[in-house]
């Protein structure tokens, strides 16, 4: 028996199943999956972003291999383009896409419910409720993917990812067959003539999977009270069992396509059948649309995570205001962090700051108060350009875009291309805060560090070279902390120019610096 987090359990199952390649982009609460998979001896790699990660995974699965692709919920937005069409093409190996959702936004910019993606993209979805199920359902998902030749979504949430529970690894899958290219143009090339029948084929597979889910799916009934039935899934199941130990419970393990007949039969046995789910009213809407008599939660409970107390309130029909949690100490940039000098300077210069996602999002908090927007990964560049296009010149000239190194690799490069292609009349200033690591998620490598997921030496994207090559006239590299007045002066000069400027503010993350030195030393020794 093992004591594993949900992330570790997914990784362990993927390793036990002989997954050929794990790809992804770091993002809380998904990051540990690939790290653990690599730790166990699996082959894992960080991609520049989730779209590329999924495309590489698709290639592995086209070749007949088993692939796992991991990301946080908002990462699936980035990967949505290949997602919707790989549902049509199907796969010949196995393709498991892990979406780690963050209800309550412990470390995210929104709390979107990615169960909606399963419906929208027509991809079967499993939802584990603890680490044991994270292990079992990962294996199940690979089986489903191979049986129906479709990609499968494993949707996990923060409290499954980062809770540790007891796991028995007592199931196994037949080892995967050897990768081999089999030409299948009609299935793989989605020109309209081939995509039209592919859509019909997909809907037929979903019909079969729904029937299978009704009779043999990974769903479970706990018999209890004859008057109260509860339909639930994922982590909500745990809260339900504790908050309403007397209730009969139908736990859905596969939540797309739904086992509607199973749900209908279950619900019909009770005077009151409640649907208890975290986030969007997804299950309840589907049940009601199918004419199943169920009751959902009051709207106030769609915000934030569920817990035992909130589930008790839902069961009791109690909609009185909830106690406000005592505010803890908010997070802050580390003392001595290189970003501190950057934001102090931007505040001094009274800049309008289009910000981005990372540790440096904390530049919005006092004492800096130096960030005016954070939308999504990479948005700083486009939003900054848009502000420059629309604002009167005296305001436009104060706009800077601020993006971290890993975020720049993720989705800032296309923004830089936009800057060259459609420059605002006042020019623009793009600040790349290069701290040599993906700091916020726990110091992962990226294409700009020149090291792979396991810290071995590889090709390196050099931001200043890229900017020069694209034709940015003013490209500077500077340490913002060693001489902050000089840094501030440089930003001011660039702002005054009405030209395009890229400033790479380079200083290693304080927390990562000693690891980076160690990796560099190891790689140098191996190079000699």
């Amino acid at each position: 028996m093992l004591f594993l987090s949900g992330d570790e359990a997914v990784a362990t199952a993927a390793f036990d199943a002989g997954v050929k390649l794990g790809t992804g982009y770091p993002g809380t609460p998904s990051t540990e999956i690939l790290e653990w998979f690599e730790n166990l001896g699996g082959k894992a790699q960080w991609s520049p972003n989730e779209k590329v990660a999924l495309e590489v995974g698709i290639g592995v699965a086209y070749a007949g291999g088993r692939a796992i692709v991991t990301m946080k919920h908002v990462g699936l937005n980035v990967a949505a383009d290949p997602l919707f069409t790989v549902a049509y093409t199907g796969v010949s190996g196995a393709l498991l896409i892990v979406s780690a959702d963050d209800p309550g936004m412990a470390s995210s910019q929104n709390e979107q419910d990615n169960r909606r993606y399963a419906v929208a993209a027509a991809i079967p979805m499993l939802e584990p409720a603890d680490s044991q199920e994270a292990y079992d359902f990962t294996l199940r998902a690979i089986e489903i993917s191979e049986r129906w030749q479709v990609p499968v979504l494993l949707r996990i949430t923060t409290r499954v990812c980062h809770s540790k529970t007891v796991v028995r690894c007592d199931r196994s899958l037949p080892q995967p067959r050897a990768a081999e290219f089999v030409r299948d143009v009609r299935s793989r090339v989605m020109i309209p003539a081939f995509a039209r029948p592919a859509h019909h084929n997909l809907r037929e597979k979903l019909r079969q999977m729904a029937a299978w889910n009704d009779s043999d799916g990974p769903n479970q009934i706990t018999e209890g009270s004859a008057s109260l039935g509860i339909i639930t899934s994922g982590i909500s199941y745990q809260h339900v069992r504790e908050a309403a130990p007397q209730a009969s419970v139908l736990k859905l393990g596969m939540t797309y396509p739904l086992p509607l007949e199973l749900m209908r039969n279950f619900a019909s046995r009770f005077e009151r059948c409640l649907v208890i789910e975290e986030g969007d009213p997804y299950l309840v809407e589907a049940a009601l649309a199918a004419g199943i008599a169920v009751e959902g939660k009051p709207d106030m409970f769609r915000f934030g995570e569920l817990n035992v107390a909130r589930v008790r309130s839902i069961v009791a029909g109690d909609t009185s205001p909830e106690p406000k949690p005592v505010a803890g100490k908010p997070p802050a940039l580390c003392p001595g962090c290189g970003h501190r000098s950057v934001f102090a300077s931007l505040k001094n210069l009274d800049c309008i700051v289009a910000g981005d996602i990372g540790c440096y999002s904390l530049g919005v908090l006092p004492p800096f108060d130096a960030m005016d927007s954070v939308v999504c990964m990479g948005a700083s560049v486009g939003v900054g350009l848009g502000l420059r296009h629309a604002l009167p010149p005296e305001q436009a000239k104060r706009v800077v875009s601020v993006i971290g190194d890993s975020t720049f690799v993720h989705s800032g490069i296309t923004g830089l291309v936009e800057m060259i292609y459609n420059p605002p009349p006042t020019g623009h200033v793009l600040l790349i805060l290069d701290n040599g690591t993906t700091a916020m998620t726990g110091m992962q490598e990226h294409a700009g560090t020149g090291r792979t997921l396991d810290h071995a030496k590889t090709g390196k994207v050099i931001f200043e070279d890229l900017a020069r090559m694209l034709g940015v006239p003013n490209v500077h590299v500077i340490d913002p902390t060693v001489d902050t007045p000089k840094f501030e002066k440089l930003v001011k000069e660039c702002l005054d120019k009405s030209e395009l400027s890229v400033i790479v503010a380079r200083r290693n993350c304080l927390l990562a610096a000693r690891y980076i030195r160690e990796y560099e030393r190891c790689n140098e020794q191996q190079g000699n």
Binding site: F3, A106, D130, T165, V326, A327, K329, S361
Partner: protein
């Protein structure tokens, strides 16, 4: 051991070893063949802000999070984090905070978290050997000596 679930919440600030603490408690219970769940948050909350982690053990545990008002123990690695987490404690629940440890005796100030576990250990039905084994399993070897010493200071041996 009774079938009742024991609920422990560790609260503190990022960098104080809150998660290490809950890891050790959970490991002790896991190795005693109990059902255990441990919950925590990663990411932005770890940048110096308030951090907490829940450990629950017993014959069968469902939710990984301690419900408000049901905590048996609150271990706080900083005194100012007691009020932040106090709502989790049941009536008559036990608070363990830095005032329970003579910090001047710690060989390494960073071992305060493990010293507080020493205090907690007096209330829980696990042997000294089980605790020491968990500390050795969870912490890197270089830290064993200082943390074993810290554990004993808390336990009052």
């Amino acid at each position: 051991m009774s079938s009742k679930v024991t609920n422990i919440v560790i609260g503190g600030l990022g960098g104080q070893g809150v998660l290490t603490c809950s890891e050790i408690v959970a490991d002790v219970a896991f190795n005693a063949a109990l059902d255990v769940k441990k919950s925590e948050l990663h990411g932005m909350s770890q940048r110096g802000g308030s951090v907490s982690s829940d450990v629950r053990y017993g014959a069968q545990v469902f939710s990984p999070m301690v419900p408000p008002g049901e905590g048996d123990f609150l271990v706080a690695t900083a005194a100012d984090q007691v009020p932040v987490n106090a709502a989790v404690l049941r009536q008559g629940g036990t608070i363990i905070d830095p005032s329970h440890v003579d910090e001047s005796k710690l060989r390494n100030k960073k071992s305060l978290n493990v010293a507080l576990l020493g205090v907690l250990s007096r209330h829980l039905p696990f042997s000294e050997q089980e605790w020491l084994a968990a500390i050795r399993r969870i912490l890197p070897e270089a830290l064993h000596e200082a943390n074993v010493q810290a554990f004993y200071i808390g336990r009052g041996a």
